[in-house]
Symmetry: C2
Subunit: 334 residues, 2 copies
């Protein structure tokens, strides 16, 4: 056995080592928080179930089922696919739906005649002309030919005006769906900074309208946010200045990876409206992505919508809601 | 005479002093640059002269003079004063103008009847109902009762929708006037940061529309700025964040002194739409001021509109332009 002094030294050293190890903090496991997914698919399912329940009650009260007429001009596969989603969703909700297919060679005049007959038909509640239409047909003329009361896409100039004036009206489905997602996900909007990237008339502009306006008005949908509209002429450095101030970012531009992590504030809510079909560099297969660098931004945002499965399903769901609204005649159009 | 060495010393010292003085920079006279005044009164005079020339040509071509009917309900002195400015300006431009005075007790139904008869009259080109109307009358109903083609105030829901869709239409006079001021003052807008304080449907919202939208569209008036809409729910600290980024600030809120120098970037353009009647603390007399601390902000801004004499005169001038446009039937309303 070692001499007592040696033993003591060794023992002391051992005790010190033990104590030191006990006091040392456990090695940091670096944890990145991941944004809560705003599950558009799940929310859309709820909305569609609610619509179905209301349609059932409407029919039980002795009314005919709501009817949606979808006009599809030409053979574009993407358009045909969108139309199928819409008519399928309609039927699942108890809404009667038809697709009226027209060749791409149809004249504007003939298309207008068809729309006029649908306008006049007492058995049609909602009319939707799938866009885009062929180049020889003027889109704005077509959108304005649908009777506002049946304009389930909300594209008629009268419905655009009504939206801007906070009047209850048929809202375009994508912005309507975004507002619904925000509401159902419990996102605060009053006094928050919202940045809308993209100024299209069908998405960017109407969502900017709904986000900034007064929630007390009779449409009841205004979010009272401070809203910045960015677009193609916003210099990239300025875009970043604004997105970094944003509590809520809505991106509807059509540029994959436009919004990166370094452009986003910690805890921001990111709503990705982009639908871009890109080729995977490694596999060569095609996939759908949004306008947001999902992986990177997820590590900073508090909430994020995936693509697909975010805004897209809500668009279809709100179209069903609009069709029921049109059938019920809830809105007084002067 | 002093001895040569002394003279040399003195002379040398003198030369050094001279040289030193020559090389020393002149003492800094602290100069504060003052913002260039955007003289709305002067620009309005030009616009009205241009309208008068066009009206003269229109009449020389064998047309009757354009006719503006202004409907004034009740006895509010401010309203009466505004109406006088408008009809006076009309007559000076060769536009025939009448004021139809109605008692504040008139019913909504009777007012609508009058508007309908003006709508149907072939000798009336422009119809304006001076706002506000008495509380028992619904303003929105009145605005929507004027035929869009004669709606020189641009308040009809159809005209609101057309504005938002970048369609050539009768624009509300104040936003139209602001755009005209910006253009005539040579202010760059493309890609610039514009902040609109106030979201009223008659001023804040339409000016935000015009400022952000695409200048290539057929209305030709879009300014392609990045636009932020601030309003009553924008927290004060956030308002300052945004105004300090702004190249262009439009204030239409109705709060004297809302915009101070510390809220404004050096060289910003400041357009003050506010019209507030306040009592001078010292003299007790009343005076008109805007929403901007004019004195303080003038020392930072590159351009600023005075109140009065800025936006106000332009509003009347653009109303004249709208009346001529309505008379000529330039715009195709579907």
């Amino acid at each position: 056995m070692a001499s007592s002094p040696t033993f003591c030294r060794i023992f002391t050293r051992f005790c010190r080592t033990l104590a030191s190890a006990a006091l040392k903090p456990t090695p940091e496991v670096h944890q990145r928080s991941v944004a809560k997914l705003i599950d558009g698919k799940a929310f859309a399912k709820k909305v569609r179930a609610e619509v179905k329940a209301e349609v059932t009650e409407w029919v039980n009260q002795g009314n005919r089922p709501p009817h949606l007429s979808v006009v599809l001009v030409g053979d574009d596969p993407a358009s045909a696919s969108y139309v199928r989603s819409k008519t399928r969703a309609a039927r699942q909700a108890g809404i009667s739906a038809e697709t009226i297919r027209l060749p791409s060679t149809i004249s504007q005049h003939e298309l207008l005649d068809l729309i006029h007959s649908l306008n006049d038909s007492v058995s049609v509640d909602g009319i939707l002309v799938q866009l885009p239409v062929p180049k020889h047909i003027d889109e704005r003329t077509i959108c304005d030919s649908v009777r506002p009361e049946k304009d389930v896409d909300g594209f008629h100039v009268m419905n655009v005006g009504r939206l801007c004036l906070d009047q209850k009206t048929l809202l375009p489905a994508t912005p309507f769906g975004i507002m619904e997602l925000i509401k159902r996900a419990g996102i605060d909007t009053l006094g928050k900074n919202a940045v809308v990237c993209g100024r299209s008339k069908n998405v960017g502009l109407p969502i900017a309208m709904l986000l900034h306006t007064d929630g007390d008005h009779n449409s009841g949908i205004g979010a009272d946010s401070t809203v910045t509209i960015c677009h193609r002429y916003t210099p990239p450095d300025q875009l970043k200045v604004f997105t970094k101030t944003a509590d809520i970012i809505i991106v509807a531009v059509g540029i994959p990876g436009l919004i990166r992590a370094d452009m986003v504030k910690e805890g921001a809510v990111v709503i990705d409206v982009g639908i871009n079909r890109i080729q995977d560099e490694e596999t060569g297969t095609y996939k759908l992505v949004g306008d947001v660098d999902f992986k990177g931004v997820s590590e900073k945002a508090s909430h994020i919508t995936p693509v697909p499965g975010g805004v897209g399903p809500m668009t279809v769901a709100m179209l069903m809601k609009n069709t029921l609204t049109a059938a019920r005649g809830d809105i007084k159009f002067s």
